[in-house]
């Protein structure tokens, strides 16, 4: 063993001297679980936006309020069918080429033709006109500026595309430019000294994708990473006691929900869905698995989704006896093995979920156990998340467990409309139609009138609460560990930015 140790130390010595000891700390390193694999903004837009490499026409602050970005102002025509975005002057891309309306229109046209939020908006054309970009619509759509703040509508330079029209570089207008990109694990950034806005205080930054939560917690603890995002509950608890690190937990508008196929004979009656909901011990899951007891979802929209959360709605409860009663009303009786039976058919269903978010299989295991209490047998399939939209399309899905972000765009209406509008959505209602909700959602998307919006939002929230086309389980907390020497850290609940351009090292 001594020999072995000696050999190990000898080997280690080969790699000395260590630059990390000599170099003065200036570079800020971010660690996060998400890999960045592509130059394509339609694929990697989230990371490119959050690292402030590229920017949107429209920006948003931490509350979701829209702010000028690469567009200084915007307006709709009186009929609501034409939107004009006035572009900022004197902006250049990282490679020195000019940011002009033609470049913006080219980039946005590409976003529009690729799958993404813009493709779903009622857009009929994008063009450059004078020093502005003009969108034409087929019907009024008040949420267009919010959609132009989304990660898939960031502006990339025309020079970022190769001869085949495929993106082959990360060239934008943001405060950071790319020094080195090693897909899928890391991006090294340098300060863009010719940035049009306030220049970042730090000269360089790095992004490292570390898939294992333990690795990220260790990176934070050892000081190898200065900002670490998405920690596991245990690692978070541990880091709270480490002096060199500050921990933050910010509620975000992401919700773990259970999609139920309402067209299936087991779940077509709302009482069946209510029974399933009543049998879920949300407090237990929030306490033991996510370890934020206050994040047990009392309703679908979390408090972080200001304007959509309704404090007046009663909390979704946990009552096994009431759940059994509802199922008995529907004609289910317990069989020999305790599993409910009706017309010779056992209440045995398949839940689809995926391992990319490690807490989901754990929650599936918890549901399996909790539903057995009311006589529902749950099989769990942990596979690719694409099985969920696929099962939605071919109708074979029973229930699915996933985490849904209702603020993909600063205005949640886009996502909610997609999920609960006519026909339901791949990541929303299935086999469930409600004309009241559909009408209310159409009204919300077409108007900017706050009073009218609030009234309709309250209606939508109440109906979803009673009918439960999707059953909410827990709300998400965005967990972050930050080196204590780092100042000016702002955690964006919308996860649009890591806030690199505002941080600095304390003296």
């Amino acid at each position: 063993m001594i020999r072995r140790l000696c050999a190990a130390i000898f080997f280690s010595a080969l790699f000395l001297p260590l630059p990390s000891l000599a170099e003065e700390k200036s570079r800020v390193t971010i660690a996060s679980p998400w890999e960045v694999s592509s130059f394509d903004t339609a694929v990697s837009g989230f990371a490119i936006q959050a690292l402030e490499i590229m920017e949107n026409l429209v920006d948003a602050d931490e509350t979701g309020a829209l702010q000028p970005g690469l567009a200084t102002s915007w307006s709709a025509s009186d009929d609501g069918l034409t939107w004009t975005f006035q572009l900022r002057d004197g902006v250049t891309f990282h490679d020195g080429t000019a940011f002009d309306p033609a470049a913006a229109a080219q980039s946005l046209t590409r976003s529009w033709q690729k799958p993404g939020v813009l493709a779903k908006a009622p857009v009929t054309g994008v063009s450059a006109k004078g020093d502005a970009v003009v969108f034409t619509l087929e019907r009024p759509f008040a949420a267009l500026p919010a959609i132009l703040a989304h990660a898939t509508t960031i502006i990339q330079a025309p020079s970022a595309l190769d001869a085949d029209g495929q993106p082959s570089a990360l060239i934008g207008t943001g405060p950071f430019k790319v020094e080195r990109f090693t897909p899928p694990q890391s991006i090294d950034l340098l300060r863009n000294d010719s940035y049009w806005g306030a220049a970042p205080k730090i000269p360089a930054a790095s992004y490292l994708a570390a898939g294992r939560a333990e690795t990220r917690a260790l990176l934070a603890e050892s000081g190898d990473a200065d900002m670490v995002f998405t920690l596991d509950p245990s690692g978070f608890a541990r880091l709270e006691n480490v002096d060199s690190v500050k921990t933050l937990a910010v509620p975000i508008p992401r919700v773990v929900t259970l999609k139920v196929n309402a067209a299936h004979r087991f779940f077509s009656d709302p009482r069946a869905r209510q029974a399933l909901s009543l049998a879920i011990n949300r407090d237990g899951i929030a306490t033991a698995i996510t370890r934020f007891p206050e994040a047990a979802a009392g309703q679908l929209f979390p408090p972080a989704l200001s304007g959509w959360h309704s404090p007046s709605l009663p909390r979704l409860g946990y009552d096994v006896e009431a759940a059994k009663g509802l199922l008995a009303e529907l004609g289910w009786t317990a069989g020999d093995d305790g599993i409910l039976v009706k017309d010779g058919e056992r209440f045995s269903i398949l839940l689809r979920t995926f391992p990319d978010r490690p807490e989901l299989p754990l929650m599936a295991a918890a549901l399996q156990d909790q539903w057995r209490e009311i006589g529902v047998e749950l099989q769990v399939s942990v596979a690719s998340y694409s099985e969920i939209p696929a099962g939605h399309q071919d109708g074979t899905l029973h229930v699915a467990l996933y985490a849904r972000n209702y603020a993909l765009t600063p205005d949640p209406i886009g996502t909610v409309l997609q999920d609960f509008g006519p026909g339901g959505g791949d990541w929303g209602a299935m086999g469930w139609e409600n004309t009241e909700v559909a009408d209310a959602l159409t009204a919300i998307s077409a108007t900017g009138d706050q009073a009218l919006r609030s009234k309709n939002i309250a209606k939508v929230a109440r109906i979803l609460h009673d009918e439960l086309p999707v059953i909410p389980i827990v709300w998400y907390q965005h967990t972050v560990a930050v080196a204590s020497g780092l100042q000016g850290v702002v955690i964006d609940p919308l996860q649009r930015s890591y806030g690199l351009s505002k941080v600095s090292w304390s003296e």
């Binding site: 339609a42 799958p115 694409s386 696929a390």
Partner: protein
């Protein structure tokens, strides 16, 4: 399989083998990707857009863009035709040329594999020689026990222990990442320790065998000192199985380090292969499998030549 072959024959045999491997790997990986359940368009769309953005519309767009509704024979011949022009195509998920993806990731994998082999040799050779000089002695028995123990510990547990000791407590090396040579140390050591657990026994056996062999006795009767005879004969003869074993290790390392890559956030080809299979990225899977297969053949060629260099008997006749 006989002992001696001319140099050119070795080359020709390996070239033929490379061709066969390329063909089989291509066909097999293609066939298996076709046999996978589930709709490829959905899987690819999921890999591209992430679950917040992925839906049926995105999947249909992918299907049209990549022509996934064409007959599988057409798709296979497309790939083979492109391959004949040394074009591995573009990744279905990332859109970038497969050759670019592989060359980056393979580079990192080779670096890690080389680091691991060096680490394992640095540990295994001295330990193995010490144990092999006196088979059945105390050193031999203690190192055997330690070897079995290390071999049984899962790589990630070893990794976490090393990170705790060297990165968090001693702050000698970084936890994860790959910016500089110091990042290579802990993952190499994790892998190297696991390898050394086996290879120090190979060294020990080879040394013990060589010590016992007849010509060794002969060398002693010739009057050479014990030290010299060890150096000249034992090590030379013992190095044959070791070289062979190192080659086998390299092949295992290049593909088999997924776990260490995951723990240390190291961009490698094993990691890429896992992702490509789950995202149904046929072009990437074929390209990766082909590269790994050819590397295996190349490694064997190198081993053949190295053995020829070490042991003159394999050259004669």
């Amino acid at each position: 399989m006989t002992t001696a072959r001319p140099f050119l024959t070795i080359l020709a045999q390996r070239a033929l083998q490379a061709f066969i491997v390329a063909f089989i790997v291509g066909i097999v990986s293609f066939a298996m990707m076709q046999a996978l359940p589930g709709d490829a368009a959905y899987r690819i769309a999921a890999g591209r857009y992430g679950y917040d953005m992925m839906d049926a519309a995105a999947a249909e767009a992918v299907r049209v863009e990549l022509g996934l509704d064409r007959h599988w024979i057409v798709q296979l011949f497309d790939w083979l035709g492109a391959l004949a022009q040394f074009d591995l195509g573009r990744s279905l998920v990332y859109g970038s040329p497969v050759i670019d993806e592989i060359s980056v990731q393979l580079g990192y994998s080779l670096l890690l594999a080389a680091g691991a082999v060096i680490a394992s040799l640095l540990i295994a050779v001295p330990v193995g020689i010490a144990a092999g000089l006196k088979p059945g002695g105390l050193v031999d028995r203690v190192t055997l026990a330690i070897s079995i123990f290390v071999r049984a510990i899962p790589a990630f547990a070893l990794g976490v222990v090393l990170v705790l000791a060297f990165a968090v407590q001693l702050k000698l090396f970084p936890v994860a990442g790959f910016r500089g040579p110091e990042h290579l140390v802990l993952p190499s050591l994790t892998l190297g320790l696991g390898l050394a657990a086996v290879s120090n026994r190979v060294v020990r056996d080879a040394v013990a065998d060589a010590m016992a062999a007849e010509w060794q006795l002969f060398a002693r009767t010739k009057g050479l000192s014990a030290r010299l005879s060890v150096l000249r004969h034992v090590l030379r003869n013992a190095s044959l199985p070791v070289v062979t074993y190192v080659g086998v290790q390299m092949a295992y390392l290049i593909e088999g380090v997924v776990i260490v890559e995951t723990v240390f956030a190291w961009p490698g080809i094993g990691h890429a292969l896992v992702h490509a299979i789950f995202a149904r990225d046929v072009a990437m899977v074929q390209g990766t499998a082909l590269t790994l297969g050819l590397i295996y053949v190349a490694l064997n060629l190198v081993i053949d030549l190295a053995c020829r260099g070490i042991d003159p008997r394999t050259r004669s006749a």
